[in-house]
């Protein structure tokens, strides 16, 4: 059954809420709006509660989700979202407190932030953490701005950030946004950063490098420490993209490899739900060199064990006067903090290590189970980390990675990450995560093998896949050429009822 648009079934006179009837003679009719009363119709349709629940329940069933099956998206770490985390985030003491309440009335919330900060610092071997960034890309920006603030503080204006070809798209966008010129660093044939090329480029104009480790080819950057040492020697800083932290959490600490700043996607490694696109949270761990520049608000624990919120008004008191500013109102994604802390406490130090091990084990299992039928360009480079990379080499003429991915939909799966990293032709990046069972992996491997064989053998029906999804392939060109971005009452042929008259009431 197709679900009509809200605007086709709702009505401006319909509502799914009841408001308390104000007592008579109790301020009814008071108006201090200064003459700005809204006169015109807004055009917001309403539905009764039964209709609302049904509308959204039906819509939801057109989605694929982790609760329905494996989500092999490389670099995106779609894993199980524990329900305890949802329950905890809804406890009144977390869900129903205002960000500007007097500090004494929110001690528990501040402790959550502090406990989480403690864990993040310990797990990464860093010195401090800025909790407020709202997502991974926001965290990246925070890290780069810390670098810029640190350089400016020493009067050393530098212009260039080096970024490997295989970087996440957010990396260059972030560097550019912060006012840096972006230069690429090439990769070796093995799929790693070319250390010699990097060293050759370093100089007094280079503010830093942005490295993803494990990298987007799914490999650990063996030379990470050497890279950091070289960058530091040249007066720059090392930013590490933390999107792939899931592969190494509890196994190795970025701080031990010389990283100066790294964002952590709480909605990836620490399993806050992705929610169809957010909200996420991207705290940034910082080295001792960068920590003084971390943005406000900051949380700090003083020697007496009490947790304090450092804001503009009390930054001096807590010796945090070099903060580069403020990236957001209030204190960051509290709802994600409670979920992430709950997740971390559930796993503990042993469980988080197991997370990385199982994530890597699952990815290698997929890599080795499919490399006979799918080209694995870096298969010979050794074990992969938490994601397995394949290419379209060997596909029949005319069939592409996209076709294979859409074919996978008909097998009941979400496609893997496609055409990324750019260094591999027709790349397919598969990240199973640690929350899949061996049985689930075996079933997925079977499905992917079958689609891959069809791609190799030139099965033309793949070109029109998916065939069994709620929709066939959608015309993205049309959408971009003639954008329809908001609902408009259609112009009905005269005499016929409008859609809303037909569907509404």
């Amino acid at each position: 059954l197709e679900e009509p648009l809200l605007f086709e079934i709702g009505h401006v006179e319909q509502t799914g809420v009841d408001l308390p009837e104000p007592p008579k003679d109790s301020g009814r009719g008071a108006n201090r709006l200064g003459g700005f009363d809204r006169a015109e119709a807004i055009g917001l349709p309403g539905l009764s509660e039964p209709e609302t629940v049904r509308h959204y329940t039906r819509l939801s069933r057109q989605n694929y989700a982790i609760d329905l099956g494996l989500f092999p998206l490389g670099s995106c770490t779609m894993k199980h979202n524990p329900r305890l985390n949802e329950k905890v985030a809804r406890m009144p003491g977390f869900a129903d407190v205002h960000p500007l309440q007097p500090v004494d009335t929110v001690r528990g919330a501040l402790e959550v932030i502090n406990e989480l900060a403690f864990w993040l610092i310990e797990l990464t071997g860093m010195y401090g953490v800025a909790m407020s960034p709202k997502a991974g890309a926001h965290g990246e920006l925070c890290g780069i701005l810390c670098i810029r603030a640190a350089l400016e503080a020493r009067g050393d204006a530098r212009e260039v950030i080096l970024v490997p070809e295989s970087a996440h798209g957010t990396n260059p966008a972030t560097a550019a946004f912060a006012g840096y010129r972006v230069e690429d660093i090439p990769a070796t044939a093995e799929g790693r950063v070319d250390l010699e090329a990097l060293k050759a480029r370093l100089g007094p104009d280079v503010a830093g490098v942005m490295i993803t480790n494990p990298n987007t080819c799914g490999l650990f950057e063996r030379d990470m420490k050497a890279i950091s040492d070289a960058v530091h020697a040249a007066g720059g800083f090392v930013y590490c993209d933390g999107a792939n932290f899931n592969a190494i959490v509890g196994k190795v600490r970025p701080g031990d490899l010389g990283v100066d700043a790294m964002h952590i996607n709480l909605h990836k490694t620490f399993s806050t739900p992705h929610g169809g696109g957010g909200p996420g949270s991207g705290p940034v761990v910082l080295s001792e060199a960068l920590a003084p520049f971390g943005p406000l608000p900051f949380t700090a624990r003083t020697k007496d064990g009490i947790v304090h919120l450092v804001e503009e008004e009390n930054a001096a008191e807590f010796d945090h006067t070099q903060a580069f500013g403020r990236m957001t109102a209030f204190h960051g994604q509290m709802g994600m903090f409670t979920r992430a802390l709950t997740y971390i406490l559930s796993h503990g130090a042993d469980g988080l290590k197991q997370v990385a091990e199982d994530a890597v084990l699952n990815a290698n299992y997929i890599l080795r189970s499919l490399e006979d039928v799918l080209d694995a360009p870096f298969g010979p480079s050794g074990p992969c980390m938490h994601e397995a990379l394949f290419s379209d080499k060997g596909f029949a003429e005319g069939l592409s990675t996209l076709d294979l991915a859409k074919g996978l939909i008909d097998e009941g799966y979400h496609p893997m990450t496609m055409y990324f990293p750019l260094v591999v032709h027709g790349a397919m990046l598969v990240e199973p995560t640690e929350t899949e069972s061996k049985a689930a992996l075996d079933q997925f491997i079977g499905a992917l093998r079958s689609v891959a064989e069809r791609a190799v053998n030139g099965d033309e029906t793949l070109k029109t896949a998916p065939h069994y999804a709620p929709r066939r392939r959608l015309d993205e060109t049309l959408a971009a050429r003639k954008p329809v971005l908001a609902w408009q009452e259609p112009n009905p042929p005269s005499g016929s009822p409008s859609l809303s008259e037909q569907g509404g009431r």
């Binding site: 648009l5 319909q14 509502t15 408001l19 104000p22 109790s26 201090r32 200064g34 309403g46 509308h55 329940t57 939801s60 057109q62 989605n63 609760d67 989500f71 003491g93 129903d96 205002h98 960000p99 009335t105 709202k134 997502a135 890309a137 926001h138 701005l145 957010t170 260059p172 966008a173 550019a176 696109g277 957010g278 909200p279 996420g280 500013g325 990236m327 109102a329 209030f330 509290m334 709802g335 994600m336 802390l341 709950t342 406490l345 130090a349 988080l352 197991q354 890597v360 084990l361 074990p383 991915a405 859409k406 069972s437 999804a469 709620p470 066939r472 049309l478 959408a479 954008p483 971005l485």
Partner: protein, 453 residues
């Protein structure tokens, strides 16, 4: 461990298939000296669900929940009643655990919802097009400033002094790095917003004027004259709204001539949550500006069989395609909060929104009347919606803390918001919503009376 499905037997079988003798063979590329040999020392080990829940509940109980106090805080985050069905819907696994809808064939649920959300926001704001949400109001505000720079190719930004100080701070922070020049002003405790002063700061290098509506003191500025002045100089007007419920009672910023309207959507559907996650709203009045907008956009199209469907579109603006040439570095948005907003707005409908706004305003008027009866206390505002500024004649920060000890959360002191401005120290921002009872108002009034006496 309860979230990890592999058994020891599975692990052995899988290592055998891979050809590794133990798990550390797979971490061979990690330099040995950096490899951790066991669980990080000094950290606790895994814990039962029961134990974790108990720990978190203990922390939760150290906070005073808004529902357990007479509560009057606002300043960009409002306590409204959220219908139970909103939370039910956002907990549907198919919404909660879905990915960003890059594969539209299996994400029509999220996409159609976003299309409906965009349409709702556009109408609420009086605009042509809204995006699929941003992190929060403050970051949306900065994105609007950056967009105005792209549209006008100018670098001078005029901020109203009555813009939420956190929002102003975010803009100033970001501008430092992009080398935009900020013309801001100090807030002043006047009955009406200082439109004249603001207009005087606009020149022909100005990319945009940023005005909050209603403003941080709860006053309602006349956007029309600011829009005219800005447009006359070729600048854009950015209107910032932090209380969407107000737009059920007062004219939309788009209607009054704002070019970009941004704001915080938390009031509808999202809840207080100690400040996040919240929901950035972003809309433009003129469709020709669409290609300069930041953030995701969902658009209508058809599938191979001609059926209507929805896709993320105009993604050439975005970072994963454009890399360093993107309109914004934003990737993750606030999808689930957008869903909550959209569900709540659907439940309200125009009729419910208007009634909700009326009830907020009614109670705010009652509160203002009651509180001005306290000796020495006066209401600053000529006009307001559900939030107004009191002058106490005493340092409001101390008053707020004293009242908190009595279980009354009296509002936000201007000293907390503007610590550098001693002249604002006696100001107290009081917000009233449909959740406020007349008893709450009386509780606040009597407590305040005592403390000020």
């Amino acid at each position: 461990m309860r979230y990890l499905p592999l058994t020891q037997d599975d692990r052995s079988a899988m290592l055998a298939r891979i050809g590794a003798s133990n798990i550390d063979d797979l971490f061979v590329d990690v330099p040995e000296e950096a490899r951790l040999s066991g669980p990080i020392a000094g950290l606790p080990l895994h814990a039962s669900e029961m134990a974790v829940e108990k720990h978190m509940r203990r922390l939760s109980k150290k906070n005073l929940a808004a529902a357990d106090a007479a509560f009057f805080l606002g300043a960009g985050a409002y306590k409204h009643h959220v219908p139970a069905s909103v939370d039910h819907i956002i907990q549907r696994g198919e919404f909660l655990t879905a990915y960003t809808p890059y594969q539209p064939e299996i994400a029509q649920g999220t996409l159609q919802m976003l299309f409906e959300f965009q349409s709702q926001v556009a109408r609420l704001y009086g605009c042509a097009v809204a995006n699929a949400s941003m992190y929060d109001g403050s970051t949306a505000c900065w994105e609007a400033v950056a967009m105005a720079g792209r549209v006008t190719k100018r670098k001078r930004v005029v901020l109203s002094g009555a813009l939420h100080p956190h929002y102003a701070e975010v803009v100033k922070t970001m501008a430092k790095f992009t080398e935009d020049e900020i013309a801001s002003a100090s807030p002043a405790l006047q009955a009406a917003p200082d439109n004249a002063g603001l207009i005087a700061r606009i020149d022909d290098q100005t990319s945009c004027v940023v005005v909050q509506y209603p403003d941080i003191l709860g006053r309602i500025p006349d956007l029309t004259e600011i829009a005219e002045a800005a447009h006359a100089k070729g600048a854009l007007l950015i209107a910032v709204n932090t209380e969407p419920v107000a737009l059920g009672a007062i004219k939309s910023p788009g209607e009054l001539g704002a070019d970009i309207v941004v704001g915080e959507g938390q009031s509808i559907g999202v809840g207080l949550q100690f400040g996040g996650p919240y929901l950035g709203l972003f809309a433009v009045r003129d469709p020709k500006h669409v290609r300069q907008m930041p953030g995701r956009l969902c658009g209508e199209t058809v599938d191979a069989e001609g059926k209507r469907g929805f896709v993320l579109t105009l993604s050439t603006r975005e970072q994963h395609i454009r890399r360093e040439k993107a309109t914004s570095n934003i990737c993750t948005n606030s999808g689930l909060c957008a869903l909550a907003f959209s569900v709540h707005m659907t439940l309200l409908g125009e009729k419910g929104l208007r009634a909700l706004a009326a009830e907020n305003h009614r109670l705010a008027c009652l509160a203002a009347d009651r509180l001005t009866k306290i000796p020495g206390v006066s209401v600053l505002n000529d006009a307001f919606f559900n939030e107004f500024t009191l002058r106490l004649g005493k340092d409001a920060r101390k008053v707020v803390r004293t009242l908190a000890d009595r279980g009354v959360l009296a509002g936000v002191s201007l000293g907390r918001l503007f610590p550098a401005h001693d002249e604002l120290a006696d100001g107290l921002l009081v917000a009233v919503t449909e959740t406020t009872t007349e008893e709450d108002i009386e509780t606040l009034a009597s407590a305040l009376e005592e403390v000020l006496a």
